[in-house]
């Protein structure tokens, strides 16, 4: 299924660069932490410069018996103190000394030689992950890494993991905040699963982008320079090895360049398929009542199965693209490695280098090459990130609700609500509201009536600015609501929606959502007015009853009464009720209408309803049809118009009785 909030799957390199540049701006608040990490990254490389020498001493001095000072190549200055100590020691003593030094290295940095078996790194590799993008990202969200292990590695790792989490927390909350400020209409059309996926799994790419862009370009050259420097000290300027190592920048960059687009495409598909899968799960669970009642289990299973299968397939293809890319680069790299091998071996064969030098030189080469690969591969490794960034920024960029510059606090309603020549359309050429105007004053109850789809709910949505009119104004006490702050506007409005929305929390908390400051007495009073108190008290845990998901334990009418109580406890000067009584029985309804009348003395109450009994008591009724107010007046006035739209509407409803 296509996602509603969609972004293009194909985007060019220029777009990718733009996205990455944008991600970088998010580093700002974390400059200090990043600098510390960078310092640790470069700093942790320094002890690694010590690693080759114990191995060389073991081979050259201990096994081959070459005395210090007679080796073909000198030791670097920082090893010299150790060499001075070792001067004149017996082979066994030297062996013990060397092993002692290795032991210190082992404890501190978790490594004591150049062989991969003799090195450890502090990272969470081995924390299990599955085979699709989402399950992998959870590890990424908490990733830490270090070049070294041991005590220092653990410190580095913990710092990095904390930094990663701080960043991810920051971006996650930013994105979530952003989603919350999307206009209600666009939120309604978005699939929840997709948003869950973006917040949970897509945001982590900002962090990894920041790491890749800031750490590698500084740390890799630093590592290369240090290595070349030490090597120069010992072996002289080994230009073939340096150049071969640096050649890996090209090896990692050039063959992968044409594949960048492919990486983006499969990265994007994998993410999208994952998001779709999340959505199908979410919908199947949320709508389980409908699924079971309508016998849709098989259908949901098929849909979920297909989506899930697709997400696996896309991930598999992404992996394949990555393996092939690696393979291509590896072939190119192999030629360089062979040349280096020839160079070092020929040096040994020709007697220019010792056997112990082989391991050392090779490790220098590998270090330079690995850092070069990191540099050259920045671009290709950022492609998958770019696909995530695209999804994150797409949502960040979606038009959101915001206050205009210089928005002011709306003072408490003292007089009137005016809707002035308002036009509104959800889709460009099908207007939902056309030239609608009306006025309501404090103390009034007004009603919107009219056939289904006439635009009654849309009209009500204009008042809390859930939607903004294409032209015309809504004014409260003469202030255009477009100029006031959203918070101050909505704090004066209590809205009861047609479809009740309850949260998986206690009844008390659900009512309290209308007004966090409400006392227990306030809550009970509101519940009484809404006709909810009795059934709540009859529940085993009363007001503390946990509702469970979507209030599955209550009937529709009970839920409706809770949401009315929620609105009443808000004690706001404007009360809007969209079909408040559709699921109520006549007794409850009559009670409610009477209390609304009572409440309206200090308020403006707006009611949308089909039920005559609910609307007929209104001070003024606006009858809508096809987006226009076709008639207005009190019930009595409107009934007097022969052939009036309202009158025929009422008559249709009462015909059954008369």
């Amino acid at each position: 299924m296509r996602e509603r909030l969609d972004e293009s799957e194909r985007f060019g390199s220029a777009d990718a660069i733009r996205l990455i540049g944008r991600a970088l701006r998010y580093i700002g608040p974390f400059r200090f932490e990043f600098s510390v990490k960078l310092a640790m990254l470069i700093g942790s490389f320094i002890p690694m410069l010590f690693l080759p020498w114990p191995t060389r001493i073991l081979i050259d001095q201990v096994i081959m018996g070459i005395p210090f000072g007679e080796e073909l190549t000198p030791f670097p200055f920082f090893i010299q103190p150790f060499v001075d100590l070792g001067q004149g020691l017996s082979t066994t003593e030297l062996l013990a000394w060397t092993i002692g030094a290795q032991f210190a290295l082992l404890v501190l940095i978790g490594a004591f030689g150049v062989d991969f078996r003799e090195r450890d790194r502090a990272d969470a590799r081995g924390v299990p992950e599955g085979w699709d993008t989402a399950t992998r990202t959870e590890n990424e969200a908490n990733s830490g890494f270090s070049l070294i292990g041991g005590l220092l590695g653990l410190i580095d790792y913990r710092w990095t993991m904390r930094l990663t989490q701080k960043l991810n927390h920051y971006y996650r909350t930013r994105l979530f905040d952003r989603i919350q400020s999307l206009p209600m209409t666009s939120l309604d059309d978005e699939r929840i699963g997709d948003a869950v996926y973006r917040v949970m799994y897509d945001t982590t790419v900002i962090t990894s982008t920041c790491y890749k862009i800031t750490l590698t370009p500084i740390a890799s050259p630093a590592i290369i320079m240090m290595t070349v420097w030490v090597m120069g000290m010992v072996y002289g300027w080994q230009s073939p090895i340096v150049w071969a190592g640096l050649g890996f920048i090209g090896v990692a960059f050039i063959p992968t360049l044409p594949l960048a687009g492919l990486h983006r495409r499969y990265g994007a598909r994998s993410r999208r398929a994952g998001a779709t899968t999340t959505s199908s799960m979410e919908e199947a669970m949320s709508n389980v009542l409908a699924v079971q009642s309508l016998g849709g289990e098989g259908r949901e299973r098929k849909r979920f199965g297909a989506d899930s299968e697709d997400s696996f397939r896309q991930f598999r293809l992404r992996i394949l693209v990555e393996i092939v890319t690696f393979f291509l680069a590896a072939i190119a790299g192999a030629f360089i490695v062979i040349e280096v091998l020839y160079y070092i071996c020929d040096g040994i064969i020709d007697g220019r280098l010792s056997l112990g030098d082989f391991a050392v030189l090779l490790s220098f080469f590998i270090t330079i090459a690995a850092a070069s690969v990191d540099l050259g591969a920045i671009w290709i490794r950022l492609q998958n990130e770019a696909t995530g960034l695209n999804r994150v920024f797409f949502l960040m960029d979606a038009a959101s609700e915001h206050d205009v510059d210089g928005a002011f606090e709306l003072p408490p309603l003292s007089d009137s609500l005016v809707v002035d020549h308002v036009h509104f359309a959800y889709e460009a050429d099908t207007p939902t509201l056309e030239d609608v105007s009306f006025e309501a004053h404090l103390g009034q109850v007004i009603a919107f009536a009219g056939p289904a789809g006439a635009g009654k709910t849309t009209l009500a949505y204009l008042i809390p600015r859930f939607i903004e009119p294409q032209s015309g104004q809504v004014r409260i006490d003469g202030h255009d609501i477009a100029d006031v702050s959203l918070t101050s506007l909505r704090s004066q409005i209590a809205f009861v929606f047609q479809e009740t929305v309850l949260f998986d929390a206690s009844i008390e908390e659900n009512i309290k959502l209308g007004n966090r400051a409400a006392s227990e007495t306030d809550i009970r009073r509101a519940a009484r007015i809404a006709g909810a108190h009795e059934f709540i008290e009859a529940l085993p845990d009363g007001y503390r009853t946990r509702l469970g998901r979507a209030g599955g334990k209550l009937s529709a009418g009970q839920k409706q009464r809770l949401s009315i109580a929620r609105a009443l406890v808000r004690n706001a000067p404007i009360l809007i009720l969209d079909e408040p009584t559709s699921a109520l029985d006549p007794d409850t309804e009559r009670q409610l209408v009477a209390s609304l009348r009572e409440a309206s003395r200090t308020r403006i109450v707006i009611v949308i309803a089909h039920r005559l009994s609910t609307i007929r008591g209104a001070d003024e009724i606006f009858f809508l049809d096809e987006g226009r107010i076709v008639e207005r007046g009190s019930h009595a006035e409107l009934m007097r118009q022969a052939n009036g739209a309202y009158r025929s509407y009422v008559e249709l409803q009462t015909r059954g009785v008369a």
Binding site: F103, Q180, D188, R191, E282, A284, P451
Partner: protein, 669 residues
Amino acid sequence: MSADSTQPGPLGQGDRYREFARLGRGGLDDRLSFRLILRLLVRCIPLLKPVAKSLAWMITCMVVLALLVALPGINIVNIFWNGILDGQVLSDVQARMILLDPAVYASGETLTPDERKVVLRALVSTVGVLTLIIAPLFIGVGYWRVWILQQVNQHLRLLMMDRLQSLSLRFHSEQRVGDSIYRMFQDSSMVTLLIHVLLLNPLENIARFTFSLALVVLFDPRLALLLLLAWPPLLFIGYRIARPLRVGFRRAREANSALTSRIQETLAGMKVIKAYGAEAYEQKQFEQASLDAFEAAYAARNRFVSYKIVVFWCVGLCLMLGVGVATGLTTQGASLFGERFMIAMGFAALNTGIWDLGFYNNFKDRFGDGARSSHRLMDLWGSVQDVATGLDRTFELLDLEPEIVDAPDARPLAHFRESVRYRGVSFQYERERKVLEDVDFEVAAGQVVAIVGPTGSGKTTLMSLLLRLYDPDDGSIEIDGQDIRGMTLASLRENISIALQENILFGTTVRENIRYAVSNASDEAVRDAARVACADDFITQLPQGYDTLLGERGTKLSTGQRQRISIARAILKDAPILILDEPTASLDAATEQAVLRNLTSWGKGRAIFLITHRLSTIRRADLVAVVRAGRLLEYGVHAELMTRQGGEYRRLVEAEEEPLATLATGGGS
């Protein structure tokens, strides 16, 4: 699976569901032990069955490939160190392996520098060619492996989906959506590691360890002992860390699942959050959940990484000492323990089985391999704790027995013909909260029965029982004289069509929504159903008509429009029993009349249940059932019920009519 336990009643089942939901919210730290982990892993084995064949082939290929690489490996190292770097002559086998003439390269005392260079180039070409042949095979097998593992995961996900779908609403009203998503997504993915943690990695590393150990014995048995000495401390550490690791991983999983739920619930309730300006409050809640998730992940990973570092200290120390001793032996030129064997195998040049540079490096490789295998086995033990935690959460869900299942001897309901009968039905959702009590009535085919009563009196529940979304605690419901609990669920629900009170639409097109229950319905049938529900007109006016995509909570349609789509959906199903729960609550009078008119002419021969408050709707029914506080108070035809003085129904009707009666004063007809 566990049908052996005493059958819990529906209420007992509800307690279990509540317990499950409570555990999912962090009520459980750890309940596993080594034995239970093993049992858990073994329980997963049947999941591998569908891919067993591919799996066997794949593993065979992996082993063959690994051997292809390992066997020449030893000789490659020896040729390199002894031949090329040290200038010793090659063995016969070695020379042949890299396509060189043994007469030249495997004879004499030493190799000349030029010969060494030739050997180097020959070795590089051989290795290069071998790599080019083998590498694509590795890629192919790697891809194949991903495919197989994904199939296993897919299989498990579907099992979980089936289980979730078959659990009753009692379960779903307790369970958080985010938790189900997390279990299906993240927890289930642990099954892909099953083959690795249970089979491949342990086998590979134990094999490597044994192989290395055996070879090290050939070098020197004392060194082999050293390799074994690393194990007691390792085992002790592994034993002590297992529980803290599991607790950490469990909490991390729960915290992340709670975060998922938090996002899902906030988004689902966004309308109200916006209307009441609760964004800041929700944001704070979200931030707290996010921090909790990170905090839990931090604790788990910190333990995991510290554990790995300590393990490496042990392994590294052992490795360091081993190499140190070997260095000493090489200095002395000591002879190898398995001297003759080495020579016989052609590993030793010059037929000298002593510690030389080649054997020194070979020893380092073998000993290093042994140490590394120990290291990896320990890492694996750490990972297993998380895998087991995830799988445990998976099985917690799969182990929940759905309370409503086909009886063992269930028979399909052919086609509803005669009547639906409620016999003394009682029901409660929770203890001490009777929703229905002793309800008794009968509806025959061809009748329309209106169910009326105050809000919360149990009308919807009455219908949920007919669908077997719940089973009654007492009494029974019979269709055509047969208890519905004796029918297959599928056939029962096939005979019933329902338009729900809460108009649930799915995130797909209008057309797909209408044919939700009958996926193969033709476009024409969809339109016909829409016409009966008076929905065709507004649908065709939508920009993309029947192909318009709807949001789950889409504002594109008004509630009245959504209601008509859900009525069309019920009509299209064309089942002999039709339930309409408040079908017209959100419709204006004109539309309501039209829909009801269409419905009655369409509904001939069916049993139709109408739940409604609207008098105009009630009057179209043949029979009226009045429910109050879970009891059936009155049952009969409209006219008869109206004659009952002080009757509940009469009171309801009068309450409804009273405001209408005043219409005349408004200047009506």
